[in-house]
């Protein structure tokens, strides 16, 4: 174990600021001089730290000194051989993982509830998806974890697959049969790459689920900015070098990573890693306690279910991240989208997302008991004020559709505009997503079913935030020209 009190990048940045070097390089704001509004919003300390790469501060594209040291510390913290600081969000990390693992025409096995970024990565690299269908928990209207059985079936169906892509955990905190899947898939010669966008806090408390790297996965993408506490857009790609070389991944990362990487973001990764390694256990203990208390209080409210592991079918749930507070609200007669809007517009509370059945509140190291009390208080008020007959939403998954073309083929094929209500039977030429969380209802190249059309109409009625389509009014869909 390395000394995690060290902060090499932060120290170098501090030293650079103290030396008061005269800047005749970019960024052009030169510590904000001359722009009063900029100075008012961002304190001097922020503008001073917003510098560009230079000798004393290393270069993210080919790190050899303080950035590399900081990356080595991060790799150590996440039990991996190597790490790459990522400044274009976990989307970039996911794309780099897939592009590092597979080439044009290769098959990747992945669950249908992947983030758009994974399918976008396949448009970039030309890989073909072979979907697994995670267990669908009808009472909460969500897809959850993948079992080993499902993975075995997928590998039988697609023996040519080069890699398997997993999500750990899902947006709502559900864990797949991760350990067994990683071991089995690696035995079958597949590379295992894992989207851990929502699991950045896992290694730092013993009662949280294990990370994929702890089970020897080949690569993982961790959104430190999501639940770790670093600044928005800062993330990391983790690598075990048994089968993939660091230099190969570095080349791929550099295809899409900014050559003007932000030192605000990178330094926040350095400080966050130190914080998590030195104070994470204590802080996450508090977060877990807050989340557990909130769950108990919400479950005492008639009509609301703050679900946890015991509420899921064990065939799709092999662990649960208690810091994700998902609440099923259909019992009070409202959709999650409606409650999400009420919380935001009426109660001044922003939760992470609302979907057909649920809302999701993210608990992390920045939360306080008083704020949590306000969330519970608002939910209690909503439950009394708006309570109607429970909703009976029937979506027995919209996911069983066929892939007609690879995402890349579909992306480049000629398309025509079709009314969504008349699009069943055609092949989609674009994404249809609800955002957040950015999980596709349709991806380019997929066959449109009646069920999918109905689901899109329902989301429209409930004013869900549907995105991905060229038509902002969500009436037309671009389909592959027949």
């Amino acid at each position: 174990m390395l000394d995690h009190n060290k902060t090499p990048l932060y120290d170098a940045l501090r030293k650079h600021i103290e030396s008061r070097v005269i800047p005749f390089d970019v960024p052009g704001h030169k510590q904000g001089h001359g722009n009063e509004e900029l100075q008012k919003l961002f304190p001097k300390s922020v503008l001073e730290a917003d510098v560009n790469s230079m000798k004393s501060l290393d270069f993210l594209g080919n790190p050899i000194s303080v950035i590399k040291e900081a990356e080595d510390l991060l790799a150590d913290a996440y039990l991996s051989d190597e790490s790459f600081f990522i400044v274009n969000g976990t989307t970039q990390a996911v794309q780099a993982m897939l592009m590092s693992a597979v080439n044009e025409g290769d098959t990747v096995i992945l669950p249908r509830n992947v983030h758009k970024s994974a399918i976008n990565a396949m448009i970039l690299c030309g890989a073909k998806p072979h979907y697994m269908y995670p267990h669908f928990e009808a009472k909460f209207g969500m897809t959850i974890g993948v079992s080993l059985e499902e993975v075995k079936k997928a590998i039988e169906e697609a023996p040519e697959a080069k890699a398997i892509f997993l999500i750990n955990p899902t947006y709502y905190g559900v864990i797949s049969e991760l350990k067994a899947i990683i071991e089995y898939a690696q035995c079958q010669g597949l590379l295992v790459i894992v989207d851990e966008a929502h699991g950045a806090h896992f290694p730092f408390h013993k009662e949280l689920p294990k990370t994929a790297m702890a089970y020897g996965a080949d690569m993982a993408a961790v959104s430190l900015h999501k639940t770790g506490g670093s600044l928005t857009q800062s993330s990391a790609l983790l690598l075990n070098t048994r089968k993939i070389e660091r230099d190969h991944v570095k080349t791929i990362v550099n295809l899409t990573q900014s050559t003007s990487a932000s030192y605000l973001l990178m330094t926040s990764l350095d400080l966050t890693r130190k914080f998590l390694m030195t104070q994470g256990e204590k802080n996450l203990e508090m977060v877990l306690e807050l989340a557990r208390n909130a769950r108990d209080k919400i479950n005492a409210i008639d009509g609301l279910i703050a679900f946890s592991a015991k509420d899921f079918n064990p065939e799709g749930c092999y662990g649960f991240d208690e810091t994700k507070l998902g609440v099923c609200v259909t019992g009070i007669g409202l959709t999650g989208i409606h409650v999400y809007d009420l919380l935001r517009d009426e109660y001044n509370i922003q939760v992470e997302m609302g979907d057909s059945h649920n809302i999701l509140a993210i608990f992390s190291v920045g939360d306080t008991e008083k704020r949590v009390n306000q969330l519970v208080s608002a939910l209690s008020a909503i439950a009394q004020k708006y309570k109607r007959e429970p909703l009976d939403l029937k979506f027995n998954s919209f996911n069983a559709t066929a892939v007609a073309y690879s995402p890349r083929e579909a992306f480049y094929k000629e398309k025509e505009r079709i009314l969504i209500t008349e699009s069943a039977g055609r092949v989609s030429g674009e994404f249809v997503m609800i955002y957040p969380p950015g999980i596709p209802i349709l991806a380019p190249g997929e066959l449109i079913t009646e069920e999918i059309c109905a689901y899109i109409e329902l989301l429209k009625r409930e004013k869900g935030s549907i995105s991905g389509l060229k038509d902002n009014n969500v009436e037309y869909l671009y389909c592959i020209k027949e």
């Binding site: 209080k297 009390n373 306000q374």
Partner: protein, 281 residues
């Protein structure tokens, strides 16, 4: 050497009070607590540097927060006080023999303990057998209660800090459910004068107005609060404080220093700029 304490009433206005000596300084789990002996106001309690009460002018605040609702409905039996750690509100309530139960929910036990030591008169109501103290977050305390209280008094600090949740819509709605049919909610309603205070006043009023059928605002004069002009909110499901017969209260013959039934009626008459601000929300 002269000692002064300063409270910023706005970014550009400071209020200074000359101090004889500092009697207490402590940091609780939630806030910094200071007690000073001052020339002009006697003993003074400050939380996180903001003046909460002083010996000389606390009667104004506590008269107005208690006697306005009590005169509106002298049948009040069960009262919930949220905040009010100094005890002044509870002290005024205990003067009504007709009240059967007074629950006080204060986040910070240390404030109560310190006030018992340094403000013996203000805190004198705490030992009344009808008074029950709960040290927890009032936001949670009222969540889920159904028709329990006749009167809820929100005697809170400002919404910037530990008092934040006591100005939220969810909290006011839960107060609505916790009140009986004739229930009354009184809340600390900030001030119309300085921009920050006025913003919270409007937000608070908007939230209450959308929850209670009757939502009014009344004013009083508070020498140690920013601008000296302060407001309470009066909200209820049925009772209108401006049209109610106040003679029952007169007959109780309760001795007050600020409140009287003429003030009661007059306090709801607000300056035009305040009326306009409240109407626009």
């Amino acid at each position: 050497m002269e000692n002064w304490i300063t409270e910023a009433h706005s970014d550009a206005v400071h209020f200074n009070v000359k101090v004889k000596e500092q009697l207490y300084h402590g940091q609780s789990k939630y806030q910094m607590i200071d007690i000073y002996d001052t020339y002009a106001f006697g003993r003074l309690l400050a939380l996180d540097g903001d003046i909460m009460i002083t010996e000389k002018d606390e009667f104004i605040y506590h008269d107005m927060i208690v006697h306005v609702p009590m005169a509106t409905n002298p049948d009040i039996k069960k009262v919930l006080v949220i905040g009010g750690g100094d005890g002044g509100t509870v002290r005024e309530l205990t003067r009504y023999k007709t009240i059967e139960q007074i629950d006080m929910v204060e986040l910070d036990e240390q404030v109560v303990n310190v006030c018992r030591d340094y403000f013996k008169d203000v805190a004198s109501g705490f030992d009344d057998p009808r008074v029950h103290l709960y040290f927890e977050d009032g936001v949670s305390f009222v969540s889920g209660l159904k028709e329990v209280y006749d009167l809820i008094i929100v005697d809170s600090t400002d919404p910037f800090g530990p008092g934040e949740g006591l100005f939220s819509k969810g909290f006011y709605e839960n107060c609505f459910y916790a009140l009986k049919e004739d229930g009354i909610l009184i809340n600390q309603h900030e001030s119309p004068y300085y921009e920050n205070d006025a913003y919270e006043m409007k937000r608070s009023h908007a939230n209450i107005k959308r929850t209670f059928d009757i939502a009014k605002v009344y004013q009083f004069h508070m020498p140690t609060y920013p601008s000296g002009h302060w407001l309470f909110g009066f909200a209820s499901k049925t009772m209108d404080p401006e049209t109610v017969d106040l003679s029952t209260w007169e007959a109780l013959d309760i001795k007050t220093k600020y409140y009287n039934t003429k003030i009661h009626k007059g306090a709801f008459a607000l300056p035009t700029y305040v009326v306009n601000m409240l109407e626009e929300v």
